[in-house]
Amino acid sequence: MSSAQPVAAATPGGFAKVEKGETLIEVKNLKMYFPVVEGILFQRAIAYVKAVDDVSFEIKKGETLGLVGESGCGKTTTGRCILQLEHPTAGDIVFEGVNLNGLDAKALSPVRQKIQVIFQDPYSSLNPRMKIGDIIGEPMKVHGIQPDAGGRRKRVAELLSTCGLDPAFADRYPHEMSGGQRQRVGIARALALNPEFIICDEAVSALDVSIQAQVINLLEDLREEFGLTYLFIAHDLSVVHHLCNRVAVMYLGKMMELADSDELFDNPIHPYTQALLSAVPVPDPTTEQQREHQVLQGEVPSPMNPPSGCVFHPRCPLAVDSCRLEIPPLEEKRPGHWVACSQV
């Protein structure tokens, strides 16, 4: 926490050196509202989609934080805000002691080297007209690392073999590869700039089970080898449980629960988390027969017009009158276990 003071002007030297176990990135009261506009010439906002509404968390160096929730809960938007692909409506994103919000493109450039992303769809996230070698080499060219082509080629070959691919793939095009191989290319590209922090946005969701396990193991190995920190955004709770040290659960733009992975999966406190976990079938018929299946009624309301008070109250089995009125704060109900619910 000590290094998390916002610094106004960022220079490459402005980053504090962060040791393992210290806070690498801190997200404070992040809000991202997207305007819904009406009119063609004179556009005016008639409403806002509150994609992310007052979310705070921190990630320690070397740690993997999982961000889970159903579609539309704001998990991807949170990731995009950290990457500065969106300009947040309010809140701070402090990376290695530097507040990224409000930095201009030039000042952001050194940050972008340190924060990389792996996208979900291995088909649309690689340029079909570029060779694999150029896809992986481009970030190095852009950031002026390895300016000569020969050095870049060597580094690309190195990255490909790190990610379990044949270095000869550098001369191929994405369409010549399978989904799993493409995802490895996406990972190699993210590693090209020796980042500190990688945001994996549904990085294994599109892959088949047997290939998914290969990529999960690769992500684990790379974390070990390069001391990486991940923000792992996913809707598959089993994968998140497997890969993450801590897990944050989001619903309709709000953080519902945050705890250590084993603690969250063994003792979920928030009624939404409980319902979410009980909805995930476990691959074991005997366990399945003994498990209690709590089926959540209704659907996720529109984020344009979220329910008042606690956003989960219309579907919540524990809801009382006061839930309709007051937004429950995220409180530490047990050591390291944060929950936003007034009824537990």
Partner: protein
Amino acid sequence: MAKLLEIHNLRTQFRTSAGVVKAVDGISYDVEEGETVAIVGESGCGKSVSAMSILRLIPDPPGRIVEGSIHFQGRNLLELGGEEIRQVRGAQISMVFQEPMTSLNPVLSIGRQLTETICLHLGSSQEEATKRALELLGMVGISDAARRLKQYPHHLSGGMRQRVMIALALSCEPKLIIADEPTTALDVTIQAQILELMKDLSRRLGVALVIITHNLGVVARYADRVNVMYAGKIIEMGTAEQIYHNPRHPYTVGLLASVPRMDQHHGKRLVPIEGQPPDLTKLDNGCSYRPRCRWAIERCASEFPPLEGVGDNQVAACWRTQEMAELREEAS
């Protein structure tokens, strides 16, 4: 129980510029009345094509059912004429597809799509059909059904559309519903709602279900029997308990070891299946799983192992299936 559907040696192939793709390569299985059978496998293993073949929905060209028989209540569906098979589709066997976004017609109201099917197959009047449609929407848990009938698919959420699809599938009281990845596009809490609904309706109405999925958790929760497919062939069949607790084919073993499990403590390393599924245009006579199999022996290269009984109606296609328990023991 009586056999409702009997598939024997079904082969479906696609002629492409790269060669003949043997998408379904000689599969046989039965479905009994009222039971739930899951077909599991990874993309490209032929699970969807095998289901589409049952209703003869394979576009020809390039696809073609080249061999086999599909007996439904004693009639071979592959020998029916165009008009006859149309009377089976929707009325006796219906289908729920993966994409609730694309499988409903966007320019027709929900009511029109439901009543059209009912009028066509049951010969009801428009009035009767509307009454039945209201009843069906109630049955699948859609509130305010009268208003929903006038709405169009884009008014509904993904989960609602899938409910409409299920109402549509149920509209003519079929004996069998084939659900091709019915919940893959849906969120997990909605997935639970839809699957519970399907299972409940199947129990109450005695409809048999064939669920095609890649989700091993869904299979464990809902299936009575499981068929595991790999590269166009069924490589193992058994009850859910047999498949999960005593898998007898290396692919099933590998598949189960590679899924992360929520009920196990984190940090346990996954054991992936190395390599990739084969190119279906370049299959040889040997076992198609051989290049990825850690227990492959010489014989696997020359002969494809037949499905062999391993006791109590469980079958597996592997030369070493009898030693599988020991091999698994050794590996762990």
